[in-house]
C-alpha cells in the first residue's frame, strides 16, 4: 500500500520537477535574449516610423530595405526558441505581418520563398478574419509580390476605415498601426542559395515604396557572410544594422548559475555526469538547449532508476516521505555505501539499532536529510565566494568559470588540490584595496542567504572588513609622521640610493609582519576554514545517493550516440542483444544470425574478398550449426537455401557499408574497414 502511494507521489514529484525545470528554462531563455530582442523591436519601430515622415533627405535617399543582421552564434539548435519568441514579440507589439522562412523550405527558386511568405503572412490574417472572398481570391491568383502588395493595400485600407476612433491613440501611433511593416525573418541566412536571395531582394526593392518590407537575417557565423553572399549592387539595397547576441558560453554560465548552482532544486549531478554534459557542450555543439535536455534526461533517469529518489524533493516533503518509507526501502537505505560508512563510524550499540530498528533508522534518516539540505545551503554561497576570490587571480589557478571550480569541488577535497594551495599563496600577496573589494563582494554574496551559519559568517566577514578600515585610518596617522623623514633622506646619489634600498629590504625581511599583513593572514585563514568546513565533496555526505545522479555512462550513451560502435558490437557479439545465443567462451556460436557469421568470416580476409571462398566458408559454418554429421555427403555443400541466405547477408553488409563491389576483379568485393584479425 505504502509502496503504491510512494510510487504515485514519486511520479508526481518527478513531473512536478520536470515542469518546474522546463518553465524556469523558458523564463531563463527569454531573460537571456531580452536585451537583444528589445533592441530589435526598437529597430523595427524606428524603421516603420521613419517611413512616415517625409523630409527632403529621406525623399532623396535611395529606398533601402531596413534589415537587421542578427548574429546568434553557431549553436543552431538554440535559435528556434529565439526566433519563436522574436516573432511572438513582433506580433504582439509591432505588426501582425510576420513571416519566417527557412532555407530548407525554400528550395532552389525564389518562387518557393514567395509561396512560403504568402502562406504565412496571408494565412495568419485570414484565420483571424475568416472572410471567404479574400481566400478565394488568393487561391486563384499566382503567388507574386504584386499580389501580396495588392492584398496589403486593401488590408490596410480596410482596417483604417473599419475601426476609426475605436481607440483614442496619438496620431503618430495611429499612423503606424495603419501601416504596419511586413517583417520577413530569414532564419538561416548561410543555408540560402545566394542567387535566390539576390533575386528576392531585387524584387522586393521594386515594391518597397508601396509595401513596407523589413528583413531580419539570422546569421550563425559572422556578419561578413552578407557581403560574401550578396554583390554590392544588391547589398546597396539594404540598410543593414547589426545585432550581436551573447556568446553561448555566457548563456551556459547563466544556465548553470540558475539551475545547478542553487539549493532550490534538490536534484543534483555528480562530477562525472556534469563532466559528460559539459564536454558535450564544449566539444560538440555549444547548444544550451541540448545541455538542458541532458539535464532533463539525467533527472528522468534518476527518478526512474533510484527508488530512494522519493526523498529527493523539498525538505518538508522529504521529511514526510521518510516517515512513510516501507521496510524494503529502509533495507535499500541500509545497502547504500554512504550509509554503511556512516554505520561503521558509530558505536556498536548504535550500529545494532540502526540495522535492526526501523523507527530508529527513520529518525536518523530525518537528521541526515536535514544535514544534506543544510550542506547544500552552505555549499553554494561559499563556492561563489571562493570563485570571486580566485577568479581575479592571474592565470586563474582554480579556473576562470565557476563551473570549473564546482567540478573540482565535486570531485574531491578542494583544499588538497595543488592549484588551491597556489591560489591561496597568490591571495596572500594581494594589495589591500583589491582584497577589501573582493571581501566586500563576498559579503554581498553571503548576506541574502537564509541560514544561521551563513549569517554568522557574514557577520564575521563584516568584522574583518571594519578592522581593515580601522587599519586604514591608523596607517594614515603613521604615514603623516614617517613620510617627512623619508623625504629628507632623499639623495640623488645612485650608489647611496642602492645602499639604502638594500638596507630597507633587509629590514623588511627581518621585520615583524605589519598589522595589515597580520590581518590579511587572518582573513585568509578564515576563508580557508570556511572552505574546509563547507566545500567537502558530496560523496562525504551520508545519503548523498538520494539526490545525486551518478550514472555518467547512461547519459553518455543516450546523448552521444555511437552508431558504428553499436553496429560492430551487434555483429561481432550478437549475444549482447540476443540473450539466448550466449556461449561460455564469448565467441560467436554457429547458431548466430547469418549476417554475423558472414561478418566474422569477412574479418579474416584482406582488402579484396573472393566471393566464392567466402561462400564456401559460410556453408561450412552453417552446416555445423544445423547439426549435420561432419562425415555425411552433404556436409559443407552449398545448396540453394544456403546460397540465398549468403547472398542476403552479403547485401546487408554492403548496405551497412562494410563492403562494396569493385571493378578490379569481377568475383571480388572490396572491404571498407580495417583490422579484425
Amino acid at each position: 500500500m505504502y509502496e503504491v502511494l510512494g510510487e504515485i507521489s514519486q511520479f508526481g514529484q518527478q513531473t512536478g520537477q520536470m515542469t518546474y525545470f522546463c518553465a524556469s528554462f523558458k523564463v531563463l531563455q527569454d531573460e537571456l535574449n531580452r536585451k537583444i530582442l528589445d533592441s530589435l523591436l526598437d529597430f523595427t519601430r524606428k524603421c516603420s516610423s521613419a517611413r512616415q515622415h517625409s523630409d527632403w533627405a529621406s525623399q532623396m535617399r535611395a529606398n533601402e530595405i531596413p534589415t537587421a543582421a542578427l548574429v546568434l552564434g553557431v549553436n543552431v539548435p538554440d535559435h528556434d526558441i529565439t526566433f519563436q519568441s522574436l516573432s511572438e514579440l513582433l506580433h504582439q507589439s509591432v505588426t501582425p505581418h510576420v513571416a519566417s522562412v527557412e532555407a530548407k523550405e525554400c528550395g532552389g527558386t525564389q518562387l518557393k520563398v514567395l509561396e512560403r511568405l504568402m502562406d504565412t503572412v496571408v494565412d495568419d490574417d485570414e484565420e483571424e478574419e475568416t472572410e471567404h472572398t479574400s481566400t478565394q481570391l488568393h487561391k486563384s491568383v499566382n503567388c507574386s509580390l504584386s499580389a501580396l502588395c495588392d492584398w496589403y493595400i486593401t488590408k490596410t485600407k480596410k482596417s483604417s476605415s473599419g475601426t476609426p476612433g475605436k481607440k483614442r491613440s496619438s496620431p503618430a501611433e495611429h499612423e503606424r498601426q495603419q501601416q504596419p511593416p511586413v517583417v520577413i525573418i530569414f532564419k538561416d541566412l548561410e543555408a540560402f542559395n545566394p542567387r535566390v536571395l539576390r533575386d528576392f531582394i531585387l524584387i522586393c526593392s521594386r515594391y518597397i515604396e508601396r509595401l513596407p518590407l523589413m528583413f531580419i537575417f539570422g546569421i550563425a557565423t559572422s556578419p561578413s557572410t552578407i557581403q560574401r553572399m550578396l554583390p554590392h549592387s544588391v547589398s546597396s539595397l539594404l540598410c543593414i544594422e547589426l545585432f550581436q547576441s551573447l556568446s553561448c558560453t555566457q548563456h551556459l554560465a547563466t544556465v548553470i548559475d540558475q539551475l545547478i548552482l542553487t539549493p532550490q532544486f534538490p536534484f543534483k549531478l555528480n562530477a562525472k555526469v556534469m563532466q559528460v554534459l559539459l564536454s558535450i557542450f564544449l566539444y560538440h555543439d555549444f547548444s544550451v538547449r541540448n545541455f538542458i535536455k541532458g539535464l532533463q534526461l539525467a533527472l528522468l533517469e534518476h527518478f526512474h532508476s533510484q527508488p530512494l529518489s522519493v526523498l529527493c524533493c523539498k525538505k518538508k516533503e522529504a521529511l514526510l516521505n521518510v516517515m512513510q518509507l516501507s521496510h524494503r526501502d529502509l533495507e535499500r537505505i541500509r545497502q547504500l555505501p554512504s550509509f554503511k560508512r556512516y554505520v561503521e563510524k558509530q558505536e556498536s550499540q548504535e550500529q545494532v539499532n540502526l540495522i535492526t530498528d526501523d523507527s530508529h533508522l527513520k529518525e536518523t534518516c530525518r537528521k541526515m536529510i536535514k544535514g544534506l539540505h543544510k550542506y547544500h545551503k552552505n555549499y553554494y554561497p561559499i563556492l561563489k565566494c571562493l570563485h570571486t576570490l580566485t577568479s581575479a587571480l592571474p592565470r586563474y589557478p582554480l579556473g576562470k568559470q565557476i563551473r570549473e571550480l564546482h567540478l573540482t569541488c565535486l570531485e574531491k577535497n578542494v583544499w588538497e588540490n595543488e592549484d588551491y594551495q597556489s591560489a591561496m599563496k597568490l591571495l596572500k600577496m594581494l594589495a589591500k584595496d583589491d582584497l577589501i573589494a573582493l571581501l566586500q563582494r563576498c559579503g554581498e554574496i553571503l548576506k541574502p542567504v537564509k541560514s544561521k551559519k551563513m549569517k554568522s559568517t557574514a557577520f564575521q566577514l563584516e568584522e574583518l572588513l571594519t578592522k581593515f578600515k580601522q587599519l586604514d585610518s591608523k596607517l594614515r596617522k603613521e604615514d603623516s609622521i614617517t613620510s617627512p623623514i623619508k623625504n629628507l633622506q632623499k639623495k640623488t646619489d645612485l650608489f647611496q640610493l642602492q645602499k639604502t634600498l638594500l638596507e630597507m629590504n633587509e629590514t623588511r625581511r627581518s621585520k615583524k609582519l605589519s598589522p595589515f599583513e597580520i590581518l590579511r593572514n587572518e582573513a585568509l585563514e578564515f576563508i580557508d576554514s570556511l572552505v574546509k568546513s563547507h566545500l567537502s565533496p558530496p560523496e562525504s555526505q551520508t545519503l548523498h545517493e538520494v539526490c545525486y545522479y551518478s550514472s555518467s555512462a547512461t547519459v553518455r550513451r543516450h546523448l552521444n550516440a555511437t552508431p558504428r560502435t553499436s553496429i560492430q558490437a551487434a555483429l561481432s557479439s550478437p549475444y549482447y542483444y540476443l540473450q539466448n545465443l550466449k556461449t561460455e567462451d564469448g565467441t560467436v556460436s554457429n547458431a548466430a544470425p547469418d549476417i554475423c557469421i558472414a561478418y566474422k568470416l569477412h574479418l579474416e580476409c584482406g582488402r579484396l574478398i573472393n566471393l566464392y571462398d567466402w561462400l564456401e566458408a559460410y556453408a561450412t559454418v552453417v552446416s555445423a550449426a544445423d547439426g549435420n554429421d561432419p562425415d555425411s555427403d552433404g556436409y559443407g555443400k552449398v545448396d540453394e537455401v544456403k546460397h540465398a541466405r549468403f547472398i542476403r547477408s552479403v547485401s546487408e553488409l554492403e548496405f551497412l557499408g562494410f563492403i562494396k563491389s569493385t571493378k578490379q576483379k569481377t568475383d571480388h568485393v572490396a572491404r571498407l574497414t580495417w583490422g579484425g584479425c
Binding site: 527558386t109 557565423t221 557581403q227
Partner: protein, 425 residues
C-alpha cells in the same frame, strides 16, 4: 532643349513636359519617339535598349509612356519566374482583373494571344529585362526590352526577329552634375547645392558613377555640409572653407557607407555624435570572429589541411616514422605552384576523418555528433559539399575558409597549422 523633341503626332505641351523631366537624355528620347511614330501609325515591333545601371533607361521610357498617355505594361522578368506570371501581369495591366482571370492554370502562348485578341485595344509593351517575346499578336504592339547586358547574350539559337538596338551611354561628369543639382534642398539656394554636388563628385566620381548611389550619398552627407553654415561660421559663398570641412568626412563615407560597411541609418546617427564616439563604430567586415565547438575547430583544421595538402604528403605529416622526404625530391611538376594559389581541392570524407583523428590529441569516439558537426559546418558554409547531395557513399568536401581564418582558429586550440602545410615547408 525642346527643339530636340518635336514630333507631329503629339501635343507640343506634352513634349515640353517630357523634355523637362529628361535632362541629358533628349537624343535618346527623340530617337525612341521617332521609332514609335505617331499614335495611329504602326511602330517597329521590338526595340532592345541596353546600358549600365542607372543610365536612365527605365526612367526615359516611363516618362515617355506616361506623359504621352500610351497604353503600356511594365513587367520585371526577374519577378516573373514562370510564363504564367508574365502573361498574367501583362493582361492585368492592360485589361484589368477580368482578362487575367481568364487565363488557364498553366497557360501557353496561344492562350495568351486568344485572350489578348478578345480585348479590343491597341497598346505598347515594355518588358523590363530579358525575355524575348515574339510579337505574334497581329496588332500594333512594340516590345521594348531593357537590359544591362548586350543583345548578343540573349540571341536564341533558333533565330528570331532581330530587334532594333539602342544604347544608352553613361552620363558624363558634367551631366551627372546637372542632374544631381536638380534635386536641391528647398531651404538652400541652387548655387549652394550645386557647389556641394561639385565637391561630392570630386571625391566620388573616381569610384562610383551610379546616379542612384550618388544621389543617396548626397542626401546622406548634406546635413554635415551645412553644419558650419548653420553655426554661422561661414557664408554660403565661402566654398573653400566648406570644402575643408566636408572633404575628410566624405572620404570616410567612401570607406564605410559606400561599401555598406555601415548602414545609412547608423551613418546618420554617427553624424550627430561626437567624433570620439564615432570611432567606436565598426563595420560589418570587422566582425570576423566565429566561435566554434572544440571538435568543430579541429574538423575545420583537418578539412583545411586536406584541401591544401596533396594527398601523397599525408604520410609525411601524420605518420610518426615517415622517413626523411625532401621537398625537392618530392615535387611533381604540377605541384610546384603554391596550392594556396590554386585554391582548395576536394577531398573524401575518409581522409578528413583520418587527418582529424591524428590531429586531435585525445581519443575521440566516432560518435554521431562528430558526423553531425561536419554537416553543420557545411550549412554554415565553412565547408562545401562538392559531390551531389544524393551521393551517400563517400561524399566529397572542400574547405571554404581563408588562411587567416584558419590560423586564428588554430591559435585558439594551440595548434601550429603552418607546420603542417605543404606550401610552407
Amino acid at each position: 532643349m525642346t527643339a530636340l523633341l518635336q514630333h507631329p503626332g503629339y501635343d507640343e505641351e506634352k513634349l515640353r513636359r517630357v523634355a523637362e523631366q529628361l535632362p541629358c537624355r533628349e537624343v535618346q528620347a527623340g530617337l525612341l519617339l521617332s521609332l514609335m511614330g505617331e499614335p495611329q501609325q504602326y511602330s517597329y515591333p521590338s526595340i532592345f535598349i541596353y546600358g549600365h545601371r542607372a543610365s536612365g533607361k527605365s526612367h526615359v521610357l516611363h516618362v515617355l509612356l506616361k506623359e504621352l498617355e500610351l497604353h503600356h505594361a511594365t513587367v520585371s522578368c526577374v519577378e516573373c519566374v514562370s510564363v504564367a506570371l508574365l502573361f498574367e501581369q501583362v493582361l492585368l495591366s492592360f485589361f484589368g482583373c477580368d482578362a487575367a482571370s481568364l487565363l488557364p492554370r498553366s497557360p501557353s502562348l496561344s492562350d495568351f494571344v486568344r485572350i489578348y485578341r478578345q480585348q479590343p485595344v491597341t497598346m505598347e509593351t515594355s518588358s523590363h529585362q530579358t525575355v524575348v517575346l515574339n510579337p505574334v499578336v497581329e496588332d500594333n504592339v512594340t516590345v521594348i526590352l531593357l537590359s544591362e547586358i548586350v543583345w548578343d547574350k540573349f540571341r536564341p539559337n533558333t533565330g528570331c526577329f532581330e530587334p532594333l538596338l539602342l544604347h544608352f551611354p553613361d552620363y558624363s561628369k558634367g551631366e551627372l552634375q546637372q542632374i544631381l543639382s536638380q534635386d536641391r534642398h528647398p531651404s538652400y539656394s541652387a548655387e549652394f547645392y550645386s557647389s556641394y554636388i561639385n565637391i561630392l563628385l570630386g571625391v566620388f566620381y573616381s569610384v562610383c558613377r551610379d546616379l542612384r548611389e550618388l544621389r543617396h550619398l548626397a542626401a546622406l552627407n548634406f546635413s554635415k555640409f551645412c553644419e558650419p553654415l548653420e553655426e554661422g561660421k561661414v557664408k554660403e559663398t565661402d566654398t573653400h572653407k566648406l570644402w575643408r570641412n566636408i572633404e575628410p568626412h566624405l572620404k570616410k563615407a567612401m570607406q564605410t557607407v559606400y561599401l555598406r560597411e555601415v548602414s545609412s541609418l547608423q551613418w546618420e546617427q554617427m553624424q550627430l555624435m561626437e567624433e570620439k564616439e564615432a570611432g567606436a563604430l565598426r563595420g560589418l567586415s570587422a566582425h570576423t570572429h566565429v566561435e566554434l565547438p572544440f571538435y568543430s575547430k579541429f574538423l575545420l583544421i583537418a578539412a583545411y589541411l586536406a584541401s591544401y595538402n596533396p594527398a601523397r604528403t599525408d604520410k609525411r605529416f601524420f605518420l610518426k616514422h615517415h622517413g626523411k622526404i625532401r621537398k625537392t625530391n618530392f615535387l611533381k611538376k604540377n605541384e610546384k605552384t603554391s596550392n594556396h594559389l590554386l585554391g582548395p581541392k576536394p577531398f573524401p570524407l575518409d581522409r578528413l576523418l583520418a587527418i582529424f583523428y591524428s590531429v586531435v590529441d585525445s581519443r575521440v569516439a566516432p560518435t554521431a555528433s562528430i558526423f553531425s558537426q561536419i554537416s553543420s559546418l557545411v550549412t554554415l558554409q565553412l565547408l562545401t559539399q562538392v559531390s551531389h547531395d544524393d551521393q551517400l557513399d563517400a561524399p566529397k568536401y572542400k574547405c571554404a575558409v581563408s588562411l587567416d581564418f584558419i590560423c586564428a582558429i588554430s591559435r585558439t586550440v594551440n595548434f601550429d597549422i603552418v607546420k603542417y602545410l605543404y606550401d610552407f615547408l
